[in-house]
Symmetry: C2
Subunit: 93 residues, 2 copies
């Protein structure tokens, strides 16, 4: 996988292949909903394990009934295929 | 412990007894820093266990090297002693 900043067209194309992710200022993000806090935390831990395995880490916001994930590739100043690959893995959880 | 919305003076008084927490629009919050993602996630899980035990749940934002916690008491429309009690427990971790 190439660690290259994607163009706006490439970002749009990759977003079409995902479900429910939105792009905003060089970040892709998605919100998930859950029945309670424990379920949110459980999902966050599963994403945490994926992130550690990929050595690519989202910013995560969560609480009772929800979890939001936001990814960018800091050292490239924008989105790369590493962000989209992690998004696909999160969606497969 | 009383589930009563605290006055601005009561909030100020309780904040003085804490270390590094700030109040902003009926929420108290604090940021912690960590050496990596795994350490942030580990701390988040410890706070999650405290929150479940207290049945009082913060909003949590975290990622590589940091974790932020924000508390309010939604059903009282402001801060109560439940928020400050959880803040004290987080600081003792």
């Amino acid at each position: 996988m190439e660690r290259r900043k994607l163009s706006a067209d490439e970002v749009s194309e990759r977003l079409e292949g995902l479900n429910g992710w939105i792009a905003e200022s060089d970040v892709i993000m998605k919100r998930f909903e859950f029945p309670n806090f424990a379920a949110s935390l459980d999902f966050v831990n599963k994403v945490g394990a994926l992130a550690e395995a990929a050595d690519h880490h989202p910013d995560i916001k969560f609480g009772w009934g929800y979890a939001e994930f936001a990814m960018t590739t800091h050292d490239r100043g924008g989105l790369t295929d590493f962000d989209f690959e992690l998004a696909r893995k999160i969606d497969r959880l």
